[in-house]
Homo-oligomer: 704 residues x 2
Amino acid sequence: MDDMKGIKTLNLKLTEPEKLREQVRYYFHQTYSIDEKLYDSLINDETFYLRADPLRHPLVFYLGHTAAFYINKLIIGKVIEERINPSYESMFAIGVDEMSWDDLNEANYDWPSIPNVKRYRDLVRERVDRLISELPLDENGIGWNSPWWGVIMGIEHQRIHLETSSVLIRQLPLEKVRPLDFWNVCPKAGAAPQNELLPVAGGKIRLGRDDNSPWYGWDNEYGSISFDVKQFEASKYLVSNAEFLEFIEDGGYTQERFWTPEGWSWLSFQKALMPRFWRKEGQNYKLRLMTTEIEMPWNWPVECNYLEAKAFCNWKAAQTSLPIRLPSEEEWMRLRDSHINTDQPLWDVAPGNINLEFWASSCPVDHFGFGDFYDLIGNVWQWTETPIYPFPGFKIHPIYDDFSVPTFDGRHNLIKGGSWISTGNEALRDSRYAFRRHFYQHAGFRYISSPEPVTLHDEPYETDPTIIPWCDANWGDNPLGDKHFSQQVMETLQTTLKKLQGKKALHLGCKTGRLSFELARTFAHVTGIDFTTRLIRQAIQMHEKGFIRYIRVEEGEIVSHVEKHLKDFALQDVADKVEFWQADVSNLIAKFTGYDFILAVNAIEEAIKPRRFLEEIHTRLNSGGILVLVDGYAWNPDITRAEDRLGGFRKDGEPYGSFEALNDILDKEFELLEEPRELWQTLRQQQRLHSLKKVQLTIWRKKA
Amino acid sequence: MDDMKGIKTLNLKLTEPEKLREQVRYYFHQTYSIDEKLYDSLINDETFYLRADPLRHPLVFYLGHTAAFYINKLIIGKVIEERINPSYESMFAIGVDEMSWDDLNEANYDWPSIPNVKRYRDLVRERVDRLISELPLDENGIGWNSPWWGVIMGIEHQRIHLETSSVLIRQLPLEKVRPLDFWNVCPKAGAAPQNELLPVAGGKIRLGRDDNSPWYGWDNEYGSISFDVKQFEASKYLVSNAEFLEFIEDGGYTQERFWTPEGWSWLSFQKALMPRFWRKEGQNYKLRLMTTEIEMPWNWPVECNYLEAKAFCNWKAAQTSLPIRLPSEEEWMRLRDSHINTDQPLWDVAPGNINLEFWASSCPVDHFGFGDFYDLIGNVWQWTETPIYPFPGFKIHPIYDDFSVPTFDGRHNLIKGGSWISTGNEALRDSRYAFRRHFYQHAGFRYISSPEPVTLHDEPYETDPTIIPWCDANWGDNPLGDKHFSQQVMETLQTTLKKLQGKKALHLGCKTGRLSFELARTFAHVTGIDFTTRLIRQAIQMHEKGFIRYIRVEEGEIVSHVEKHLKDFALQDVADKVEFWQADVSNLIAKFTGYDFILAVNAIEEAIKPRRFLEEIHTRLNSGGILVLVDGYAWNPDITRAEDRLGGFRKDGEPYGSFEALNDILDKEFELLEEPRELWQTLRQQQRLHSLKKVQLTIWRKKA
């Protein structure tokens, strides 16, 4: 049986297809079995229906869930066509959101019997086994787009639930669980070593799983980001129960000043006096493990949530007058990489208490050394200061589109390093898991000392429905399938631009900046201006970070996440010629002058005072300079008052169009160079809904 | 000087260009001169600034207006480029709306001096004369699209103002005007003849100026409509002042029962006791003419507005117990055509008191005979029961787009036949002028006796902004310039339809009906159904009358008027196979069944209960029948409640699209025949603004 433990996640790039097929089969069955082994800890079937945690489903759900997940994902991925039990596959599909307080009524659920769920598990196991036999496989192995990916995803998903279910079991009443030999508790315990801060050299570090990684990764692990980490000091050991007790005994749980507002709010609500798995009996402390309770092992790592870890650090900082805090993700990785050059699939024996290779519990914090440090990986997860965020290059896997995205909200912090029960993908260097800061896993922490602030990664997905269409219009595809609008504009201006190489351009109404960057291919300097802060912010992020992100509505509540990079458009090399400003095009300050070329897109129809804009625009242009107007004259009463419109009314009894008005206003300072051109500008609302604007492009030369 | 009178409107199809050019010049100068001759009746320049009618501009405006009109229209028509006096051409552009009571303050106007206006008139006369010399002309003559059309329009416009200004002069104080020999009053007056009703044979009549007519026509005169006029009786004479006096003396002006509500309201407001140009002095009645007042000529035709004429008829009907009323336009024309087979350009001498060929006033009603009748044309205009309406085939002339359209409101009744001062186009058979019913011109009436109701022409231009885009989407052009949406659908269905020749089709969500008619090319019977009454009304009008009309927004307040005919699409011959019903597609009554083919366009996304619709649609189809769904699944919460949507949400944790839902719902009764196709559906909001919907076309066969 023990061959269930210590298994490594698969090398999916193995070039021997039949060998890989059998490895998948083995990995699948071992995972399936160990999952069931976990539930053997429950004393009887009734226990499956108890709520270990008031905010989670009872374990019967997870018993069904890890099986149904295979079928649901393989159906979504169109790998299989037939369901096994549609009712189960619906009932076991979605867990309770950990923050939803209104769905606690178990009466909403009519859970089936355990034997029935187990029979269902068996049917799924047979079906997936058959699929493993039948699915074509070649020497390219298994990639992100392979139908096999859903199988591996199911296995790795089940391995995550090994860990989370073990936490739920740990919350069941002691009398409802039983110890099993398989889940062997570490027998070592004793006094904790004195912790100390040791130096960690600074240096460059790159995070993000390579697209060609041979090992399975969840969506949030891909992409790439680099850091130059400053040197810092880190605690030699994880914080032990003993070290944490000092905080408690010093009144840590009663002094608001150590806690973040979120932490204090949680503490007040929970009325917590110590970490959740601690129990005080008289003057003695006990520690609840998965199926047993033991005398407090003072030299084991403390397990707490982020809020408690953070309060501890604040207390420690106050005590020591050092800048004590939790590490950022990159600092944590820097420390790891400076002492570990292996990874789970490559090692013979785990260098730490991880991958179920030693115990089914924590162990002393001074047991597994890595150079001067201990427990750089394994034993318990380690909280970081970094809320999870997508790396640049992030994309969502189509068959599990809500795995990571809901956690990119700044409220889910990363835990790193894995625990004793972290297996499969969880035990890899590049794995990234994040939980709400009040949440419990087998997680503790290491503190560091550093004066550097922690970088927050605030490049969220744009969700403003008035901004998204312009992100997409600038950087997405043309829904009509022909040339992108920016290309149409640039091609129309080709001859005009030839004479302006190396000159200075102003782009008014630049929205999220695409055409400003395009102009920088020609001009030595481009100023992009838009009035809407939320639009120009996207242009600036594209300029500063090289990418933007937004969420498109596909149909109803179904969305897709889009990330666009300057380099996708080969614009990264001209970016340093562009600058962006937020300003009202009808009321520009004096500094925006001396241009040889001005492009104003939708600027007239979106101006509060379009006449003022047109009357003074010549002052921004050098003599002989070119003004290009691209506009739909789609007057919006919320922006331009009726009396301020240029055209679209009767003047002296005759229809007076805006192009006519342009001529009347610009005539004094400009000459019209060519016949107006008409272009189609699309604005996407949803996958199937767009607005379509016919815009007129006119080219004017400032008279000498 | 007298060669100014009796001039005929020009034959614009003359094939001798230089001769035509000189005829235009002559016609222009004579018209210009006679216009000025009219103002010679004013005793001095101050009189030009008097308001003859409180709801009209003073005559100085008309002095400038008839000249400025040439320049304004030639500029609009891009025939000339330079204005002569932009300020005058703005000030003299628009008359006061006869119904606008809030613009009476002459202080708003700073009229120029009469010598200045006259100098301006001279400049215009020179400019137009030069244009007449310079404009190219060939043997095709002058057509609707010719640059010359603006010149002719200016002349004919000036001729209309001869008449309307003469009415304004008639309203000036007597001491402000002077008689001139040129404006010679008819010396004949005496007792009125006894009027009587004479029979008019029924028969067919066709109205509408032919596109190839050699004579100038205003927009509303073109198009074509036919009637089968029932026989009726008509009064031998126009109603004379004597005959009208009977009505007055019988208390006609004090008894509400003879008046329409509109008429009684007008009478109460005006406190009128007799027609406007009558004046009672002791027991004597006087009649105001253009520049003089005379003893009441009892045998001249009474001049009154429609409301007075109508009240007279009601009184007469009550007196005689006969169905006395005013004639409709077609009855009036039937009577005219049964006794007149000439027209102004063709006659040597006018057959009636018209075209300024006899007097500058009315004359006795028994002077000009036409068979048994008198004054079938000429003397005074004759009010009809018919509010002006556009004939089918109506189109607007682009340089004068508001000549007729504002009068198509059911409140402007046609006057026919011309008066003594009707010249040019006004004196033609096909001319059509209409005024508000309370308005005064040199107009009276003839009554008829007929039990037939008068047909009102209620095919107004659709103005509902929610309906117009669908008129245009069904019957207008595809703004993207490629194939029309209905053609795309029909071509996609080509193979499917081949097997269904002569069968029975149901079209759900038929909007304004285009695809229902298209389906009738294949099917023996097509039922078109839509839930929106205002949409289906357009489909029904297209079916019953063969055309629809709608007003499109071009830019801001600028609109265009569109008329579309079934025969433009070669659909007139299949129309009798189509029927239209208003019904809810989610809740159809039992009669709509037994179809071989159902096409539902946008029906799902616009259904209140789309699931119910899809679940029961198979009951409408014969076994093996075809269901075609064309839909954008663009769920609108105002129509379909969130919980009733088919897709566009997460189901069991996974994105659930509407196409997936279609499969789930239809699977039991249908099989999907082909891969779904995607089509682009456009909906026009304005000239430059459209919405664009990607709709999915799926073809399903009902299982046997």
